[in-house]
Subunit: 320 residues, 2 copies
């Protein structure tokens, strides 16, 4: 018997699993594969780069007859970006990290489902007030960017569920296998939004060295800070840190962010290391659950496997 | 149908719920109430103070015919403490925070069930090697003390479950309602070890101001550091931080631990504030899940309510 939730019903998808719209790496092929597997594929459009969308949207739109969506970094977009994206007729638009209020109404007015990701209770309340159709409660375990002073998924999700009801909530952060999906449902979420696990798939747009680092890494090797964003001159606002797999550069600059920001030579040394191939081309954004990631499966198969594991975990729980 | 796990079977208890042996506050009355409610009550014996144990053990031993145990801070005890405790014939002894190897064999040899709490995978592996009968996987969401660089409960528990199998694992940290218990079981744990939720009960040995702070506090008000341990001259090793509800003193000294350690006047100012009653008599050790705590029920009723909520959460999960 398949898992059925407010999320699967809202989108008419088979499994309560959504692809986190990871900027750049969640492209058309990955989103389409997640859709084909029975989940909701969300393109990681970042700041809404026109060429990226023009290339990736057709891949997901033509690769699946199922609903798909586009995710943006809210701090990095303007209404023009959203309007152009809406012309592609995505079934859903997801906004993460920043103030969604300038965009919420035009997304809903265009008939797209509005998904807002939140990292604390004030943001959750604001998302409800803005009329979010789905709220994603992101814990600090998640890979890549999140709030500097974030919440943990396990205690955060049920509080957002209570606050948002009847708006369905997806749990995000720290979920990389079916047991995590099952736990999300047990907490009252209508599904799980999963990032890092999908970075390590055949379809993700990531450098092979990054996929390898995720497969080989351990949760205890990940850490959350701004060091690599500072080193690479990223535009991410300072209120967001990113969880990455550690490396030599991080060992050197951990807890010295202000010093690094004031040291252009050190920043150039990082960039030179990347150029030489001493370091991966991008930070290895990865969540704390990477202990559970040991292979690079096709994403459609992965969605089915996660759902089957979740069903079995729920069936076994408390039934020994 | 009651929840049945390797933990409930091992102890012959009704519910997969254990009382975290919170030093000082998990006394005989609270442990006995948890036992009566169908869980496993564990006394929080801290460093094994002789008088404390002589007072509290009879309360739990005579207050319940059911199994109960004693929990110690591993770094604070010696073999003499363990031997004296074993004379009380506890069904279980739990060791947390520190090297359990000097104590494991004598606890098992005495016929007590050995429970070891772990905060990372190296500790989990060591606990398995020492022959732990039960392993508690503690996430950084938990109230009170834990590893400085801790893991989060949601991604940590399933990895420990895989590593320890067939040794049963309890999830700890961030669990304050039945949905959290259900999530623990979905993750593959055999139960939940719960602390903060039991601080806010009729039987906990806490000052009323502390129970009030837990009921009124929010998860986002909690933070993890060593500031209050330094201020009160605590013997806790510097590798452990504690999650507490914030206060004015923390606002002043957050991120300035070394400076505070070198400033006896500032430490005395804190102690004077406590003496004047401006601040609670002890740090308000509390986990990130306190958003979910809104009352001060009798602990026995609470155990039953948590179990019933967990059953219902599992029955509802993915079945909308």
């Amino acid at each position: 018997m398949a898992l059925s939730t407010a999320f699967t019903k809202m989108f008419g998808v088979e499994h309560p699993i959504a692809l986190a719209p990871m900027g750049g790496s969640a492209g058309g092929a990955l989103a389409a594969a997640v859709c084909r597997g029975g989940g909701l594929g969300l393109l990681g459009a970042g700041n809404g780069d026109r060429e990226w969308l023009a290339r990736e949207v057709p891949i997901v739109a033509q690769g699946t007859g199922k609903p798909w969506g586009i995710g943006f970094l809210t701090w990095a977009i303007d209404v023009g970006v959203v309007d152009r994206a809406l012309e592609y007729n995505p079934r859903a638009v997801m906004l993460s990290f920043g103030d969604p209020s300038p965009f919420a109404e035009r997304i809903r007015h265009a008939g797209a489902t509005l998904i807002i990701q939140v990292t604390d209770l004030d943001e959750a309340r604001a998302a409800v007030d803005l009329g979010a159709d789905v709220i994603v409660a992101q814990g600090t375990e998640s890979g890549g960017h999140g709030a500097r002073r974030g919440r943990s998924t396990l205690p955060f999700v049920p509080v957002v569920v209570d606050l948002a009801a009847p708006v369905p909530v997806l749990a995000a952060g720290g979920i990389a296998d079916g047991r995590g999906v099952a736990a999300a449902l047990a907490l009252g979420a209508a599904g799980a939004l999963i990032g890092t696990r999908f970075q390590a798939t055949a379809e993700a747009l990531v450098d092979p060295s990054i996929a390898k680092a995720i497969v080989e890494g351990r949760g205890e090797d990940t850490e959350r800070n701004r060091v690599l964003d500072i080193a690479r001159g990223s535009r991410w606002p300072s209120t967001y840190t990113a969880r990455t797999v550690g490396n030599r550069f991080l060992d050197q600059w951990r807890d010295r962010e202000a010093e690094l920001a004031a040291d252009p030579e050190a920043q150039q040394a990082y960039q030179a290391g990347v150029a030489r191939g001493d370091m991966p081309p991008l930070p290895v954004w990865a969540g704390e659950a990477i202990d559970l990631i040991t292979d690079l499966p096709p994403a459609a198969d992965l969605v089915g496997a996660l759902a089957a594991q979740a069903e079995s975990a729920l069936a076994r729980a408390g039934r020994q």
